[in-house]
Structures are given as structure tokens and as C-alpha cells.
């Protein structure tokens, strides 16, 4: 994920109803709109009225940051990923062309969550130029594209046609981008070398990187990493989330009503972290 600070909405802290939140997206106050978009996603309001106003908010021109960012579009794009409505896909694909990198990032993440492969060509377009073009923007804390979000989305979407373009990113100099590529390549190929390389990163010197590797291993549900996850130096809360991912992935891919020895082993590790 990019390093944008995500301000806790500090404007209207009142408890909203669904109708109010939808109405507030048409409010004249940017703070109210921003909060309402966040609220609809946070509470997973899967309501066609909510989806409609959030899609409209993706083309908002009013709410701008000093350097031209679109805060409301970012929040609306994030929210739409959580509402599981395929109607949002074309509008989110359009957001991949937005000049604000954080809107592109949010759109890529949400498209990955929505699981609609129509977005694959547009995501692939953002990888044009390959690793060579994947440089940081001078004076900014981010790269020219939100590569980690794009790679993760392509992995979640099982976009095998994107493999050739994605593979080189497993050698990107930025760890977070590299992890995203390893994660996606493991999802696409099932080759354990990618997941093993991620497992190695649980030994990274930097806590943030160990956390990233934890979350990636949990997301791909790589069972052999379970003991290393339990051992790594990070918060128990994060290790538990990663092990939950491993356990659930294993449960979903094994048949039968009996718990396997592997599942029991993962639960023993989880018990020890409570």
C-alpha cells in the first residue's frame, strides 16, 4: 500500500443512517461527503442507492487537495470495493486513468476485490514500461503507479495472461512492490519458490516489512509458512490474522468434515498466540 495518511474522519462524527449517508454524499460540505463515503464502505451498505451515489462521487470535481488530489474519489473508490456490486466496475476502470495516484491505487484495490476480469487489460496498461519505468516520482513518497496494488489485484483476479509482465517485478528494488509480485506470482503459478521467498522476508530487519510479508502470506494462505509466521517478531494480533488466512485457505481447499492434522497444527499455533 502507498504511504498516504488516511485521516480519521473528524468532521461530523454523528451516527448516520443509510438514508442520511446517501443524502450527505450530495451535501455542499466536503467533510460531510468524505465521511459519508467512508461510512458506507465501512458499514458495507450493499444498497443500490448507495452504489449509485458512490459511482457518481468517482467523478467529483469539487473536493481537491492542494496538490490536485481527489479525496472524495479516493474514499468512494475504496468503499465500492467493499460493496460487491459489479455495476461499479466500469467506473472504477475509468479511475485507473485518474491523475491522482491514490485514486488509481484505491481503484486497483477495489477492482481486485470485486473479482471482475474485465478490468485486467486496464490494470496491465499501468504496468507498461515494466520495472524500468517503475520509478519514484521526484519529491513524492510514491512511485509513478501504485504497483503493489496493481500486482495484488492481478493476482487476486487470477490473471494468468499477465504473468509475463508481472514476473520481472519480483526483482523490483522496493520490497513492498517485490512482495506484491511474489504474492501474485505464487497465486498464478502455485510455484512454491515465490512463497518461500516471501517466507524468508519474515526475517527482514524492518518491522514494517515483516508485517507486509505476514499479511501477504496470510492472503495467499501458504501453509508451510505457518511455524515461521508464529515465530516472527511482530504483534500477535497480526500473526493471528496471517494464520487465520492460512487456516481458512487450507480448510477451503481440503474436503471432508474431519479436521486435518495440518489444520490442527495451525490452530495450535494460533492458540499459543492468544
Amino acid at each position: 500500500m502507498l504511504q498516504e495518511s488516511f485521516p480519521t474522519p473528524d468532521q461530523p462524527q454523528e451516527t448516520l443512517t443509510v438514508d442520511q449517508a446517501i443524502a450527505n454524499l450530495g451535501s455542499a460540505e466536503p467533510g460531510r461527503r468524505y465521511y459519508a463515503a467512508w461510512w458506507l464502505g465501512r458499514n458495507r451498505i450493499k444498497n443500490s442507492g448507495a452504489v449509485t451515489v458512490l459511482i457518481e462521487a468517482l467523478t467529483d470535481e469539487v473536493d481537491r487537495t492542494e496538490d490536485g488530489g481527489y479525496p472524495l474519489r479516493r474514499n468512494a473508490a475504496r468503499a465500492l470495493g467493499k460493496l460487491e456490486d459489479p455495476q461499479a466496475v466500469p467506473a472504477l476502470i475509468q479511475c485507473l486513468d485518474c491523475e491522482d495516484v491514490y485514486v488509481r491505487e484505491a481503484a486497483a484495490q477495489s477492482l481486485g476485490m470485486l473479482g471482475d476480469i474485465r478490468c485486467v487489460p486496464a490494470l496491465l496498461k499501468l504496468l507498461e514500461g515494466g520495472v524500468e519505468a517503475a520509478q519514484s516520482v521526484p519529491g513524492k513518497p510514491h512511485l509513478v503507479q501504485p504497483y503493489d496494488a496493481i500486482l495484488e489485484a492481478l493476482g487476486d483476479l487470477a490473471a494468468r495472461e499477465a504473468m509475463a509482465e508481472m514476473a520481472p517485478f519480483t526483482a523490483h528494488p522496493m520490497p513492498r512492490v517485490r512482495y506484491a509480485a511474489l504474492r501474485a506470482m505464487y497465486q498464478l503459478t502455485g510455484e512454491t519458490r515465490y512463497a518461500e521467498e516471501l517466507t524468508q522476508e519474515l526475517q527482514a530487519k524492518d518491522l514494517q516489512l515483516r508485517r507486509s510479508a505476514l499479511m501477504d502470506l496470510g492472503a495467499i494462505g501458504y501453509l508451510p509458512a505457518a511455524p515461521a509466521i508464529a515465530e516472527t517478531l511482530a504483534e500477535n494480533s497480526m500473526k493471528l490474522i496471517a494464520l487465520k488466512g492460512v487456516l481458512e485457505h487450507h480448510l477451503q481447499t481440503t474436503q471432508g468434515i474431519k479436521l486435518s492434522p495440518e489444520a490442527i497444527q495451525v490452530m495450535d499455533l494460533m492458540d499459543s498466540l492468544l
Partner: protein
């Protein structure tokens, strides 16, 4: 020797330095380290607090009274670490604190630790006449915790119920049927697959001992 290790904790001037000093003090396994280890819980240094909690758990019973004595005057963060230490020690004198924390603490990591701790109380340390009602209370609280909004607290509550069930396996009280029903319900209806699986494991473990 211990005095020197204590001094190193008190004089540590960096987060890493503190962590190393606390680890060394915890490993010395000396009751004289208890006040210092308890003090570290209030330093707002998670790494050092984890090491201190581990050291306190390893020391066990002698830690309980000083920990309970300090609990009220504590800042929130230190209280949370103290609950985790009490959960790990399992002394019944910590029971009231765990009963309250398991359902009413606002931090899920504290509710989770307390729920696990309620299943690992050393009941035999209570007067025989007091055991039954204490276990009753623990079961009631754990059953409530199995409906917590956070999956990890429900997971820990299942672990707690399994521990409690195992403790009474030779003479199952009436509430065992309630626990069994609740586990069955979680296996079928909990929204989190990991909680369903853990409930199944708890049920299997309890069944295999009956």
C-alpha cells in the same frame, strides 16, 4: 547479579536497549525482579512489555499479589499487559479481573487474552467449596464472549471453553450441555471459518475424553 540486571533496565536509554535489558532480567527468573518487570508494563514499549509479561508468567504465583495491588493505579496500557500476565499465570486470584476484561474491555487483544485465561485457571488452588460457583461465572462470561463482534475474541472464547470443559471432564457439571450446544451452534453458524474450525476442534477434544 540481579541488582545489576535491574539497574540496566532502569538505565536503558533506547527502545532496543530496554528490550534487551528486560529480556535479560526476565531470563534470570528471580522473584526480586518482579517489581521492575511490573513497572516495565507501564513504559509504553510493546517489545519490552511482551518480554516483561513472559518473565512474569514464568515466575507465576508470586507475581499475582503485587500485580493485583498495582492494577487500579495503572494507566490503561499497563492494565492491558497486566491482564495478559494474569491470563498466562492462571491463578484464581486473578479471576475477577479476567471475568470483567473478557467482555467489557474495549481492546480486542485484552478481551482475547482474558478469554483464553479463563480457560486456564488453576481451579485446584481455590477452596473446594468455591470452585463450582467460580467455574459457573467463568462459563457464563465465556458464553457471552463467543458472541463478541471480533472473530479473534470468539476464537479465544472457544479455546477458553475447551480448557474449562477439560478441567471438569471427570465430573461434568450441568453447564457442560450448554457449552456443547454453543459449540455446535458455532460450528454451523459462526461467520468466520476459523472460528467454526476451532469450535469443531474443541468439540472433538471434549468428546474424545468423555
Amino acid at each position: 547479579m540481579i541488582q545489576k540486571l535491574i539497574q540496566e533496565v532502569e538505565e536503558a536509554d533506547s527502545a532496543d536497549g530496554l528490550l534487551n535489558a528486560v529480556e535479560a532480567l526476565a531470563e534470570a527468573h528471580s522473584e526480586r525482579a518482579i517489581p521492575t518487570l511490573i513497572q516495565v508494563l507501564g513504559y509504553n514499549n510493546p517489545g519490552a512489555a511482551v518480554a516483561a509479561v513472559e518473565g512474569l508468567i514464568a515466575l507465576g504465583e508470586p507475581v499475582v499479589t503485587p500485580l493485583l495491588n498495582q492494577l487500579d493505579g495503572y494507566n490503561y496500557g499497563a492494565r492491558a499487559w497486566a491482564v495478559r500476565a494474569l491470563s498466562g499465570i492462571g491463578d484464581p486470584r486473578g479471576l475477577d479481573v479476567l471475568l470483567e476484561a473478557a467482555v467489557s474491555d474495549f481492546a480486542l487483544s485484552v478481551r482475547r487474552a482474558a478469554a483464553r485465561g479463563l480457560g486456564a485457571i488453576h481451579w485446584e488452588k481455590l477452596p473446594t467449596a468455591a470452585i463450582e460457583s467460580a467455574q459457573d461465572q467463568a462459563v457464563q462470561v465465556l458464553l457471552v464472549a463467543t458472541a463478541d463482534p471480533e472473530w479473534v475474541v470468539r476464537y479465544a472464547a472457544v479455546v477458553g471453553l475447551q480448557g474449562l470443559g477439560m478441567a471438569v471432564i471427570t465430573q461434568p457439571p450441568d453447564w457442560c450441555a450448554k457449552v456443547s450446544d454453543r459449540l455446535k451452534a458455532l460450528i454451523k453458524t459462526d461467520e468466520t471459518l476459523a472460528v467454526q474450525a476451532r469450535a469443531k476442534l474443541a468439540q472433538q477434544s471434549l468428546d474424545s475424553h468423555l
